[in-house]
Symmetry: C2
Subunit: 284 residues, 2 copies
């Protein structure tokens, strides 16, 4: 299976990256190699495949976007933030290494993401700059989204607010993962980039609503973290605002809209449609 090949590829690359002899390596490695669906790297490889970009040219982007994602999980799990003590069926970073090392593991992973991408010599400098710019603005928006999320607890929020929040907190980095794959091809046209941006916003929001639904319906084991953890914290979610059934309709509708948009691309989008369908039917 092609998505399995992508997942193995990013896992191998992450594994060989984290072998430096330094104090941070152990805690970074613990979180990076804990598992995870590698959804963002798979998105990047899949988009790149639509534009015939060679796998080895995609590697740095796939690693970088996943490192940013993992750093955000480590910091989000901290007691001062979401206070989650389990992640991917193992104690979260601060439970395993203490808060200080967890903060530094996140800090180090963010820096490492930029180091990996800036050092990707097989991507020409003018393109690398675009990718770095996108990664930086996405990482910034993600932090901003998390900051909005923190202030949202127990406030009166509506679906519009949730949409804006998810767009920043989850959508930006998913959009980055998708656009990475297209920007690697110098000849990609702006219309394709626009379509992919809009596509990634739709599936980013869908993915987050689906996460919220799974958080209510799933078991601790399949989620790898405590079930219902958002609800217990009084955080507003789609299910808490409009109920489970409407939430399911909402995310399925968004995935379908995303797939529909792909038909406007100048290239064959079958691989991305296949991936979107797989994500829509995930159970964790």
């Amino acid at each position: 299976m092609i998505f399995e090949i992508y997942r193995n590829r990013v896992n191998n690359n992450l594994n060989s990256l984290l072998t430096r002899q330094n104090a941070l390596n152990e805690s970074m490695r613990y979180s990076v190699l804990a598992g995870g669906k590698r959804f963002r790297p798979i998105l990047t490889y899949t988009t790149a495949s639509l534009f015939d970009v060679k796998l080895r040219q995609v590697d740095a982007c796939a690693v970088a976007v996943e490192l940013i994602h993992i750093y955000s999980l480590i910091h989000d799990d901290l007691p001062a933030m979401d206070d989650d003590d389990m992640r991917h069926n193992q104690p979260s970073s601060h439970k395993a290494f203490g808060e200080a090392q967890a903060i530094l593991a996140g800090d180090g992973l963010q820096a490492l993401a930029f180091e990996v991408l800036a050092g990707a010599k097989n991507i020409m400098p003018s393109i690398r700059i675009k990718l770095l710019n996108l990664l930086a603005s996405s990482a910034f928006n993600m932090a901003d989204g998390q900051s909005i999320d923190l202030s949202a607890v127990s406030n009166n929020v509506d679906v519009d607010f949730l949409n804006r929040l998810h767009l920043k907190k989850t959508g930006t980095l998913l959009g980055c993962a998708v656009k990475f794959g297209a920007l690697l091809e110098p000849k990609v046209d702006n219309k394709d980039i626009d379509i992919l941006s809009s596509f990634s916003e739709k599936i980013g929001l869908a993915y987050q609503i689906q996460d919220d639904v799974l958080d209510v319906l799933g078991s601790d084991e399949s989620l790898g973290k405590r079930q219902n953890s958002d609800l217990k914290k009084g955080k507003p979610t789609y299910p808490s605002l409009i109920g489970i059934e409407e939430s399911k309709k909402a995310y399925k509708g968004l995935y379908a809209e995303g797939i529909e948009e792909l038909s406007g691309l100048s290239v064959n989008a079958a691989a991305m449609i296949d991936l979107t369908n797989k994500i829509m039917h995930r159970d964790n």
Copy 2:
């Protein structure tokens, strides 16, 4: 005074950068505009002046290196880290905004540093890539140094260990600030870069030892934070290992060695010698 011009310039640039309408802006702005000597940006402008680089070409580097420095101070001050409640004569970020927002302010500033530098269109892409690579590896080493520092409390450490620690924790980013100024000139030769690297390692170590001495001798007010804060935490420092007088000799000797090395440069280093002398005679 030229260094005052550089300081005002980076202050103005930082001020105009932090005007976005977003939840993180207030907490980032609070720490970024709290004051501070702007030593790193001044180093960058000064090095660049040796190689006749125009000021406006230096701006992005000066801002980026300072943003990384400020993010590291916010995270270092956190209760789980050094637990300092004052910084630049005002409550530290987590005291003013809570721990969660302080963590995110640091995270956001790190991302912003890379965004500013990646987006510096007046620096050609091949050079920007080098600068981004250096910034990323320096930010990574700094986090690694802080991680080593945390594990050092109450262990038996010697001067060699402290030197290695300071080289990572303080020296790397100071070295980045210095090398930034040279890398901006495409024709700079490797010998000059090597000399500046060695120079920045010496003054980086000197600066840290001097900080430790001032931490013992200075007043709370002039330091902008609690005096003796390292000693109270049982952290190993030069003064605690070899005493105040020997520590003074050590840092003055290192500054002098640094200045001596500058004579090997292919350009006139008077401005950098002037700056180094000013730093050596600082009292906070």
